[in-house]
C-alpha cells in the first residue's frame, strides 16, 4: 500500500482525488457523502452573488452506444444563499477535519467585493480558495467568469486583490477558452496565486434536434452556448496542464481537471505535472462510489511500479513534453502486422490506401489464404493503421534503426545558419504540428 497523501500548495488531502466545483459539491449533504465514499477533497460549488439557474441545463454526447462521451451544461454558479452554504461548509469541515475543503469563488471584478467574500469564507475555516475565472457562460455576460478569465491583466489584478485578504492558499482556476493557456497562468502567478487548476469547461453546443430544430439543450425553445467537459475533453485539458507544467514562468502546483474518469487518467495528469486531480462528469455519470476504484487502481499501480508515494509520479513525464522543433527528424518507426492475431478486416489497408501512404499490400499465400503486409520502406510511421486496427496487438509500431544521427528541426536550422550559406529556402518559418 503506497502513501496516497498529497499536499497542494499547503492544502493537505488523504488522496489526490477531489470533486471539482460543480453540482456534486452543491451542498454539505453531498460533500459529506462524497468524503464517506472516499474522495480526498472537494471544491465547493462556486459561491458569489445570487443567480438564477434555468430548468433544462445539461446535455451529453453519446458516442456509438457509449453514453456520455462528452457533457455539456448551461448551469451557473451556486443558486443557494451564501449563509446556508457557509453553514454547511463549516459543518462539513468539522466532521472531516482531514479532508481538503476548498471553496470556489466568483464575484464582480472589484477589490472590495473580493475582500469581502474572502473574509466571510475564511472566517468559517476552510483549507483554501479557488477563484473561478472560467465559467464560459452566463457569468461572462456579467463581466465575471470567463470574461475576466480571458484577460491576463484582469486575472492578475483579481488574484492580487484576493491575496491581499487571503490567509489560506489561493488556487486560480483557468478557462480553456483562450489561445495560449500559459498567458493567463502566468498572470495568475504574477498576481500571487499559490496554485492553478485547469481546465474549466469549453464553449460548446451539444447538438441540434433534427426533428424540432431546437438546440440541445433548450430552455423553452431557446438555447445558449454551454460548457463542455467529460471524457472527450481530456486531451485538451492534458495538453494545457502540460503546457503550464513545463513553463518555468508558471512554476506553481497544478490541480488537473478535465475528463478524468478513472485511475489511469489521474496517473496521466500526475505524470504531466498535476499534484492532484479534480473530477466532475465521471461522478455525475456514476455516483461517488467510482472513487473506490480510482484509489484502489492507483494503489495497485504504484505497488506494481515499486513506488512508495503518489508524489513520486508528479511531473515525471513533463520533460518528455517538448516543442515540435526539438523532435528527432531521423527517428523512425514502421508498422508491422502480426499474421496470427490479424482478423483480416482490411481496415488498416484501406486507411493507408485511401488516406495515408499506400503501403499496406494485400496478398494471397500458396494455400489461397489472404494476408496483409506492410511495405516497410514506404511506411512513414504515421500510426494510422494501428489506430484503426480493432485487435489488440495485431499491429505494432516498431522502432527501426535510424539511418543518420539524431537531428531536430531546430538543430538543422542552426547548422544551416552556421554554414552561413542561407540557401535553405524550403521553409524558413516556424514549423508547428497542425
Amino acid at each position: 500500500m503506497a502513501d496516497l497523501r498529497i499536499n497542494l500548495a499547503g492544502i493537505a488531502s488523504p488522496n489526490p482525488f477531489w470533486l471539482a466545483s460543480a453540482p456534486p459539491t452543491n451542498t454539505g449533504y453531498q460533500v459529506q457523502r462524497a468524503f464517506e465514499a472516499g474522495w480526498g477533497g472537494a471544491v465547493w460549488k462556486t459561491l458569489g452573488d445570487p443567480i438564477i439557474n434555468t430548468s433544462s441545463r445539461f446535455a451529453a454526447v453519446h458516442f456509438n452506444g457509449q453514453r456520455v462521451a462528452g457533457f455539456n451544461n448551461i448551469e451557473l454558479i451556486s443558486d443557494r444563499p451564501l449563509e446556508i452554504n457557509l453553514k454547511e461548509i463549516y459543518e462539513t469541515k468539522r466532521r472531516f477535519p482531514n479532508h481538503a475543503v476548498v471553496v470556489s469563488l466568483m464575484v464582480e471584478p472589484k477589490q472590495e467585493k473580493w475582500h469581502e467574500i474572502v473574509k466571510r469564507v475564511e472566517d468559517i475555516g476552510v483549507d483554501g480558495l479557488e477563484l473561478n475565472f472560467g465559467c464560459p457562460h452566463g457569468m461572462a455576460e456579467r463581466g465575471m467568469g470567463a470574461a475576466s478569465g480571458q484577460q491576463p491583466d484582469l486575472v492578475e489584478m483579481q488574484t492580487m486583490w484576493v491575496k491581499e485578504a487571503a490567509r489560506t492558499p489561493v488556487i486560480v482556476k483557468l478557462t480553456p477558452n483562450i489561445t495560449d493557456i500559459t498567458a493567463t497562468a502566468k498572470a495568475a502567478v504574477r498576481g500571487g496565486a499559490d496554485a492553478i487548476s485547469l481546465i474549466n469547461t469549453i464553449n460548446s453546443l451539444a447538438g441540434v434536434d433534427i426533428e424540432t430544430w431546437n438546440t440541445i439543450p433548450h430552455v423553452g425553445g431557446k438555447g445558449a452556448h454551454g460548457g463542455y467537459c467529460g471524457p472527450a475533453v481530456k486531451p485538451i485539458a492534458l495538453n494545457m496542464v502540460a503546457e503550464c507544467a513545463r513553463n518555468p514562468l508558471v512554476g506553481v502546483p497544478i490541480s488537473g481537471i478535465g475528463g478524468i474518469s478513472g485511475w489511469k487518467d489521474a496517473v496521466e495528469f500526475l505524470l504531466m505535472g498535476s499534484t492532484g486531480v479534480q473530477v466532475c462528469t465521471a461522478a455525475m455519470h456514476h455516483g461517488f462510489s467510482i472513487v473506490e476504484d480510482m484509489i484502489d487502481g492507483l494503489n495497485n499501480y504504484l505497488d506494481s511500479k515499486g513506488l512508495l508515494s503518489v508524489n513520486e509520479l508528479i511531473g515525471k513525464s513533463v520533460e518528455q513534453y517538448s516543442d515540435w522543433g526539438d523532435l528527432d527528424l531521423n527517428y523512425a518507426v514502421v508498422a508491422r502486422i502480426e499474421q496470427e492475431t490479424c482478423i483480416l478486416c482490411n481496415k488498416c489497408h484501406i486507411a493507408c490506401e485511401d488516406t495515408s501512404h499506400q503501403c499496406i499490400e494485400r496478398h494471397t499465400d500458396e494455400n489461397g489464404a489472404a494476408y496483409l503486409k506492410v511495405r516497410e520502406e514506404d511506411c512513414v510511421g504515421c500510426n494510422l493503421c494501428s489506430i484503426v486496427c480493432p485487435v489488440e496487438g495485431a499491429i505494432t509500431m516498431l522502432e527501426v534503426p535510424a539511418a543518420e544521427m539524431p537531428l531536430s528541426w531546430n538543430q538543422r536550422q542552426a547548422a544551416i545558419a552556421a554554414l552561413g550559406n542561407g540557401k535553405d529556402s524550403d521553409n524558413p518559418g516556424k514549423k508547428e504540428a497542425v
Binding site: G262, W263, K264, I290, D293, G297, S304, V391
Partner: protein, 457 residues
C-alpha cells in the same frame, strides 16, 4: 429395446482432450467490450442475487479500468472460492438472471468476466489477502471443501489459528474431486487452497476425523469447531443385481476421472439412474470416456428433472439420451458377475394428495429391458451420520440442525456449513452457498469469541 454397439478404439490422450476445460476464457477484447457494457448500477440486483454478495459492478468496473488485481480482490474478498464459482455457478439462475440488461438487451456475462479476473490472479500468482494479527484463539475445521476453506480464509483474516482436517489426499472437497474436469480443472481448486494455506492455515490432509483424530481431542484443543464435511456416498437402490461388477456410485465414478482416465468404457453402453446435477455429470463423463451409448433413466419427466437447463442442454449436445418415466427394477449380470442389462418399468405421474410434486406410479405390465455394460447410480447422497452422532449434534436424518443466522449447531462450540446442513428446505447444494455459509460461521465465531469479549472490556 436393443442398442447397437459402436466398435471404437479411442486412445487415452484423446480421452484426456475430452476432459480439458470445454469453455475457453474470454479474450482481452471480449472482456473489455463486455466490462464496458455493464451499467455500474446503483444498489445493483446482480449483487443481491449472488449468495456471497460479490460487488459485481465494482469488479467489472475494475476490469474496464485495467485494475485487474483490484478486480480479483473484489471477487475473492466476498467469495474465497470465486475462481471456482466463476465456472460452476448456475449464473442464469443467480447474478446473470438478475442483471437489469435482461430487459433491454442481453445480461452481462458476469461468470465469464469473473473467470477473466480470477484467471489473471492465478496467472500472476497474486496473493490477495493477508492474515490478521494473532488473536490467541484456535479453531478446528472438519472438511476442506468450499465451506471449510471459506470459513478458514475468513477466520485467518480475523487472526485465528486455524487447522483444517481433511480426509482426502487433497483439500477442495467436491471442487477438487466431484465437479467434472471439463468444467472445473483441478488446478483452479488447488490455487484457491493455496491462497488459504498462505494465510497460515494448517491443512492436514489424509486425516479423517473420527478415525485418525478423535472428536474429543478436537473439542479439547480448540475454542470452536466448524463442521464442513459435506455429504457422503450415493445410497443403494435396493434392487437385485446392485453388487454386480459395472455398477458404480456416481460420486466415486466422477472422482475416478479426476486422476487417471479409465479406458474400459470405450465403446460400452451406460445407464445412469437419476436426473440431477450429479447424474448429468456422470452421463457426460461417460460420453467423454468413449461410451457408445449413454442413457439417463428417470422415473419422472423432463419437467421435474432437477438438473439446470444449461446442464440438460449440455448433456443433449454430448449425445446423452433420456428414458423419462422409467424406473429400474433389477440389474442383470452374466455368470462372471458383469452387468449385461437393466430391467425397467414405465411410470405415470399422479397428482399427490399433499399437493407437492407429482408422484410417479408404476404402469402395470410395462417392464422393458435395456442391454447395458455399466450402471451408474446418481440418486442423491447419504450423510456422514457416524461423525455427526459422535459430535452429538441435533440433526434431522443426517441434516445437521443450525441457527440460520449464525450456523451454530446444538453444541454452541460447534458450527456447521455447506452440504452438511443442506436439505429439508435448508440451504442449497451449491459451491457458492457453501462458501457463504462458511463465511457466516467465521463471522459468528469472531463475534462470539473476540468482538463480544472486546466489547465487555
Amino acid at each position: 429395446m436393443s442398442m447397437t454397439v459402436k466398435a471404437a478404439y479411442i486412445p487415452v490422450d484423446s480421452l484426456r482432450r475430452n476432459f480439458a476445460e470445454v469453455k475457453a476464457g474470454m479474450k482481452p477484447k471480449e472482456a473489455m467490450e463486455e466490462s464496458n457494457r455493464c451499467l455500474y448500477c446503483y444498489d445493483a440486483p446482480c449483487i443481491k442475487a449472488c449468495p456471497t454478495g460479490i460487488n459485481i459492478p465494482s469488479f467489472i468496473k475494475k476490469i474496464a479500468s485495467g485494475n485487474m488485481k483490484g478486480s480479483a480482490r473484489a471477487i475473492m474478498d466476498a467469495n474465497p472460492v470465486g475462481a471456482t464459482c466463476a465456472r460452476v455457478c448456475p449464473t442464469e439462475e443467480l447474478c446473470e438472471g438478475a442483471c437489469v440488461l435482461n430487459h433491454s438487451s442481453k445480461p452481462i456475462m458476469i461468470g465469464d468476466l469473473q473467470r477473466y479476473a480470477t484467471d489473471w490472479a492465478i496467472h500472476n500468482d497474486s496473493l490477495l489477502f493477508s492474515a490478521g494479527a494473532d488473536n490467541g484463539k484456535s479453531i478446528a475445521i472438519i472438511g476442506g471443501g468450499p465451506a471449510g476453506l471459506s470459513a478458514a480464509r475468513e477466520l485467518a483474516r480475523f487472526g485465528f489459528a486455524v487447522t483444517i482436517f481433511e480426509a482426502k489426499e487433497q483439500a477442495g472437497g467436491l471442487d477438487t474431486y466431484g465437479i467434472v474436469s471439463f468444467r472445473l480443472p483441478q488446478r483452479i481448486s488447488f490455487w484457491e487452497i493455496d491462497q488459504v494455506r498462505k494465510l497460515g492455515v494448517d491443512i492436514r490432509t489424509s486425516t479423517k476425523v473420527g478415525i485418525d483424530v478423535s472428536v474429543e481431542d478436537l473439542l479439547a484443543k480448540h475454542d470452536a469447531i466448524v463442521l464442513a464435511i459435506g455429504m457422503a456416498k450415493v445410497p443403494i437402490l435396493g434392487i437385485e443385481g446392485e453388487q454386480l461388477a459395472g455398477v458404480y456410485d456416481a460420486i466415486d465414478f466422477i472422482e475416478s476421472t479426476k486422476a487417471e482416465l479409465r479406458e474400459d468404457l470405450i465403446g460400452k453402453r451406460v445407464a445412469v439412474i437419476g436426473a440431477g446435477n450429479t447424474a448429468v455429470d456422470a452421463a457426460t463423463c461417460s460420453v467423454r470416456l468413449g461410451a457408445s451409448l449413454v442413457k439417463m433413466i428417470y422415473r419422472r419427466s423432463r419437467e421435474e428433472m432437477t438438473a439446470y437447463d444449461f446442464e440438460f442442454e449440455f448433456a443433449k449436445q454430448d449425445g446423452v439420451e433420456f428414458a423419462w418415466l422409467s424406473s429400474p427394477l433389477r440389474i442383470i449380470g452374466d455368470e462372471a458377475g458383469n452387468v449385461t442389462a437393466i430391467e425397467c418399468q414405465r411410470m405415470s405421474l399422479e397428482e399427490s394428495e399433499e399437493g407437492g410434486r407429482r408422484r410417479p406410479v408404476p404402469i402395470e405390465g410395462s417392464s422393458f429391458m435395456l442391454e447395458v455394460d455399466a450402471v451408474i447410480k446418481a440418486i442423491g447422497q447419504l450423510r456422514h451420520l457416524p461423525l455427526i452422532e459422535q459430535l452429538g449434534l441435533a440433526h434431522k436424518r443426517g441434516i445437521v440442525t443450525v441457527d440460520t443466522a449464525t450456523y451454530q449447531t446444538s453444541n454452541p462450540r460447534v458450527y456447521a456449513a455447506g452440504d452438511v446442513v443442506f436439505g429439508e428446505g435448508q440451504g442449497e447444494a451449491m459451491v457458492v452457498s457453501a462458501a457463504q455459509q462458511g463465511k457466516k460461521t467465521a463471522y459468528a465465531i469472531y463475534n462470539t469469541l473476540v468482538a463480544r469479549r472486546e466489547q465487555h472490556g
